[in-house]
Symmetry: C2
Subunit: 738 residues, 2 copies
């Protein structure tokens, strides 16, 4: 009866090469199952549990969410404190040495020192990522998106990932994402050690959603934004109770961060630090907006969309280059160090060339850089630097943590920045950030985008104030905010959640409407040219990602054309040898097998009775749940749901299970382990219909049946993700083993 699926006969050749074609879909990614396998064991357990026990389970869920919130908050605190101290340390080392060496050997020596320092710090982080935990690379958001979408990205929710990611983040001196979301997602795995009832994909995915929300919440002090991020990126089925739990985790997370940081900063109990990245309070009394400004905001959205598309296009070419030529870990480390050194050099040259000295005012400048003035009294090279009581604003922008620079751009009073400085800074930072994204370091794109946008937004505001002869409404800080939103929106193309995140991070509800307008415009304009950065990277990695809806023009396809066929079926009472052979067959890449009636005289197709997962079969074989063929009336060993849970999520490979020749002739009864009511679709169902069912219920396998309920095929995630709307209409991606 078993059929070997035809499309999987491609041998596993060239295993190390990553597909360098975005029109491929990789078969290496497994899917998550958001649908419970409702077999007899499961139902028996659920029926045994009474109402009070269900309440206990529900309370446990809340406890886990609270723990996720607390742990996320603590991790975020740790990152914040380490990053802040490292930035201070770096500033002091560089400043001291510049002072010393400029006196002795000239500027070139200082430059060398700075570049080396930068490169060596990055090297440590890069080594960890390149050699130990590749999943810690980047901002983690694409990985989280994929996981919430239902794709199992190896290691993404493992505690190990967190352990490596945590220490590697602070090394990223250049554009530290600071996004704690990717860090918090592995936390549920830790909690699973304690609460074994929750060891299944459904629950795990819910908790990962909570972790992602808690991470965003802690990063920006945006609990509602966190929930919306989690929903926008992940959830397909909106469940009120789940949403409340996610919201609870978000709130706890920002509250924990707030409490701990308040204590750390010495003003205990006043809760003044809601998030890692705080945009500072925009006082809406002073800084409202008027209807006349709305076209200006929309224009900024257009600019953001175009710049974002440019950023993404450049990064696309760069990533293609990296995939082709820089896929060896040591090369990746070298590239990361190169970027760090170049960043330092560019920074140094720009500080050197810019003569943008500003009087020191207020407390917004933590690390003013005024070099050399103590030693050489404004002679020699020091005419480039600043006098006492002044600071070099370009140097400040380079030496601050980028988060602080963003806040400065938002809130420094008009006249704090020289337009030339801002222009140069935008230009340089744009290319450096573009080069940095995709390096093998744990650095994201969020903060750099905000910084670029804030810089050109402020420049725009200054120009506007100049053109309108200093109208009161042309506050450069406001335009810096809009520019930041436009640039970030143009790159990542988020709207609802980003609007709320910006609203919460600025503590200002009034700017909601213009921010939404800017983000919408940036998204529409950006989408016209090229995809969002995260989607682009997901696609470049050939992940079978399911979008929200099937391509609009896909009504012409039906399940019959989409499904994999023929599909390997098992009989309800099956020979152990057959099961082992099917599982050992590397060309059979499905993880679920329809179970059909074991009528011996059945024709080739037979009525569907259930669905059993590869992982379940493995557990059955491991526990030797079978009887001899001659003793079919003997009762086979009973398993408990616990046996399956204990093996979750890393089921042993079939090779590790020894089945003797005698045992191969035994029979295995799948009836009580298979899911007796798998979801099915008829062959005539259109692709959008199949898609909707699949997506709404978070399925992993969908059996296609004919009019007599006989199995004719199987639809999995890859079969649906293959169809995509390209420039010239519907296109079909090829499948690849790599």
């Amino acid at each position: 009866m078993p059929h070997i699926p035809q499309e999987t006969e491609v041998p596993r050749q060239r295993p190390n090469e990553i597909p360098h074609n975005e029109k491929l879909l990789s078969l290496k990614y497994e899917s998550l199952d958001y649908d419970n396998s409702e077999n007899q064991l499961f139902l028996e357990e659920e029926r045994r549990i009474n109402h009070a026990a269900f309440r206990t389970v529900e309370i446990k869920r809340w406890v886990i969410c609270a723990m996720i919130g607390i742990l996320t908050g603590l991790v975020a605190c740790f990152i914040d404190i380490v990053v802040e101290n490292l930035a201070g340390l770096k500033y002091r080392v560089v400043k001291d040495n510049i002072d010393k060496f400029t006196a002795k050997g000239g500027l070139s020596f200082s430059l060398l020192l700075w570049a080396t320092l930068n490169a060596s710090v990055v090297m440590v982080g890069s080594l960890i990522v390149a050699f130990i935990e590749p999943v810690a690379a980047g901002s983690g958001i694409p990985q989280i998106k994929c996981y919430l979408n239902g794709v199992k990205i190896p290691h993404v929710v493992r505690l190990k990932g967190l352990c490596y990611k945590c220490p590697s983040v602070p090394y990223q001196a250049v554009p530290t994402g600071g996004l704690a979301s990717s860090m918090s997602c592995p936390l549920p795995s830790l909690l699973f050690q304690i609460f074994e009832y929750f060891r299944r994909d459904t629950e795990k995915r819910d908790f990962v959603s909570a972790g992602a929300a808690a991470g965003v919440s802690a990063a920006f002090g945006a609990p509602v934004g966190g929930v919306l991020f989690s929903l926008e990126e992940g959830a397909s089925f909106w469940n009120q109770f789940l949403t409340w739990r996610i919201f609870f985790a978000s709130m706890i997370s920002t509250f924990t961060l707030n409490s701990v940081l308040s204590v750390y900063h010495g003003n205990a109990w006043d809760l003044s630090s809601p998030g890692l990245i705080n945009f500072g309070r925009f006082d809406s009394e002073k800084m409202g907006y008027t209807i006349q400004e709305i076209p200006i905001f929309i224009f900024m959205g257009v600019v953001g969309g175009i710049l974002g598309a440019l950023f993404n296009a450049l990064n696309y070419w760069l990533t293609m280059f990296r995939i082709r030529y820089i896929h060896r870990p040591c090369l990746q480390v070298v590239e990361a160090m190169l970027v760090a050194a170049v960043t330092a050099t560019v920074g140094f040259v720009m500080i050197y060339c810019s003569r943008d000295c500003q009087p020191i005012q207020g407390s917004s400048v933590a690390y003013p850089l005024q070099v050399g003035n103590d030693t050489e009294q404004h002679s020699g090279p020091c005419w480039l630097f600043c006098a006492d009581g002044e600071y070099n604003s370009m140097a400040t922008a380079f030496f601050n943590t980028p988060e602080k620079s963003v806040v400065n751009l938002f809130h420094d009073p008009p006249g704090s920045y020289n337009p030339m400085t801002l222009g140069m800074f935008t230009l340089m930072y744009f290319f450096l950030a573009c080069w940095t994204y995709g390096l093998t370091v744990s650095a994201g794109v969020f903060i750099p985008s905000l910084l670029i946008g804030a810089a050109w937004g402020r420049l725009f505001g200054i120009s506007l104030a100049y053109l309108t002869k200093g109208s009161i409404w042309a506050d450069p800080g406001k335009y810096a905010l809009m520019g930041a939103a436009a640039q970030l929106g143009g790159i990542v193309r988020m709207t609802l959640s980003l609007t709320v995140i910006m609203m919460e991070a600025t503590g200002n509800v009034t700017y909601g409407f213009p921010i939404m307008l800017v983000l919408m415009t940036a998204k529409i304009v950006g989408d016209y040219f090229v995809e969002g950065l995260y989607d682009m990277h997901i696609q470049l990695q050939s992940v079978p990602f399911l979008h929200w809806e099937a391509p609009v023009t896909s009504h012409s396809l039906t399940a019959r054309e989409v499904m994999s066929t023929p599909v390997t079926c098992l009989r309800r009472i099956e020979r152990v040898g057959t099961v082992v052979d099917i599982l050992s067959d590397t060309s059979s890449n499905h993880n679920g097998f329809p179970v059909v009636e074991s009528n011996p005289d059945a024709t080739q197709v037979a009525g569907l009775r259930g669905l059993i997962l590869r992982s379940q079969l493995i557990v059955l074989l491991k526990h030797k749940v079978f009887v001899e063929r001659t003793n079919l009336n003997l009762v086979q060993r009973r398993l408990k749901l616990k046996d399956f849970r204990d093996a979750y999520p890393r089921f042993p490979p079939i090779q590790s299970i020894h089945v003797s020749q005698d045992e191969r002739e035994c029979m295995i009864d799948l009836s009580e382990f298979m899911n007796p009511s798998p979801y099915t679709v008829p062959q005539e169902a259109s692709l959008p219909r199949v898609f909707k069912l699949f997506r709404a219920l978070g399925l992993r396998h969908l059996v296609v049946v004919d009019n007599r309920n006989e199995v004719v095929g199987m639809v999995t995630r890859k079969d649906l993700a293959r169809y995509r709307l390209g420039k010239e209409g519907l296109e079909e991606l090829s499948l690849a083993q790599t």
Copy 2:
């Protein structure tokens, strides 16, 4: 072949009596179909449409959402302006007359005047509701909840409802909800006249979601809260694009309101009025909170939960009384007038008895009431009233619009209110509001709840300040806010959306965490005693409302036990007479019929081929789409999708379609009109599994099949809504025709 469903044989007796048992489920409500009938016509149309045309459709959706936003904003403006002017008028009339009559004939005359005035104003609104448009009663939120849940509440989304509701709202002098959400939902119907492509339940429900969100957004200046309200109450399947459109409508709506009201109030372009109900800005610099206060907030949540449960329990008994004894329209009008007169009397007596005179300060008091002091120089009855330069705070609380009173309670400086006044006011207003909810007037529970909560919250804050000897953190305004949240949360049991609404209405993100805590606590405590007010009323009306999940202990039920059986099936090529008979059979209450193979020698059950809706059959009969039995090879008349759309949503009854005796013998081929791939479940599927499929896809009919794909039953909304988790475990509601 047609079977008469057994459970529908209850004759249509006692049609006027409303079931006065909450353990009933009414059969009179039809369901909405969120799933498109994917028949040949539909697929042909979809396949004809190319990518560009789909983009046009998408743009049209955005345009409709913008229009919904604009219209909602304008309706809200209209309400705001009328209510404000009426409140001013009422104040002036009462004040002038009290001055006049107190001088002449004593206070009893003034009282009579006020009571009569109040009663007659309410009478007008009540007459409209009781005799013309009953659906305009109440706040409209339960109706919207039901509609978004998928229950077709007659008239709720009809333009007529809006036309009657608009003028009736301003008459509610007592506790005007001001919630524009229920008003905006009929707007999509208007737009359907223009955009015929969208004439189907799916699209309509999406636009109603947008309308509901826009309404909340305009009411509270809370665009994000509006979106969350719409999602929390309605959506089951989260779709990113839909959410963005809803958000867009929300933003447009609050922006429109803001612009128009800014112009109306004379400060054009400054956008200072984001919502109808503005809680005033809480300055978070001055009014933070500390960790020590959190237990206090939780305690307030407990109080709110208990008071809310008490409110709901009282209202439950009252509603049962009303259902039994006050179901004639004229009685309803009398009751409404009685409530108005009693409200006036209570108010008058309390103003008379309270001696709470406060110095007039600031601009927060729009209608200070200082009665009689001009004429009688503080002698006689005037010792009860106030001196020059002072106002009676009780009178202010009664004469202001409740929205303004809430704002005053939040923002008046400490010492503005006498604790006695607040206590008395809370007590009286609690019972009056409870009596008012459920009257045949368009009045909601939102603002009265906030007002009650703000009053006791402020009282609590004053006591706390007294106990702690005036700590700086014991600001009564902050506690008024928390009290308002606790009371409202205790009554309506919303959490996420309400948190965000409160955050946006106060323009303050800092209070998010305590508000969430208060709302969560209030919900948990309240749920311990009794359901939320809206859910209670939905249940009292026997609406088949589907909650988020199936009852937790329902795994023991399977589709076989839940489904209706036997089910009326049609053959693929069916005799017209049979169709007419089935449709005319009043005992057959299903609106969808499985289509089975028309094999003449089939046994009683036969393989499922498709599903056809009652409405589709009606259109087919109306257009005489059939051929003579003797000429089966003739091609039957082709219909277009437009023919079905033109009949939407009010399909004619079967009685209005004349079918001659000859025509009865003709045959009708359903193949191209039926949905060939209806969703099915096997008999063994558990109730939670069936529920999940049904809820996630927004189905109306779900066919239950056996192993051979033969129809054995049908699951509809009523079959699922019947099972509920009661105090003693799973309970099953009975079905009733009324």
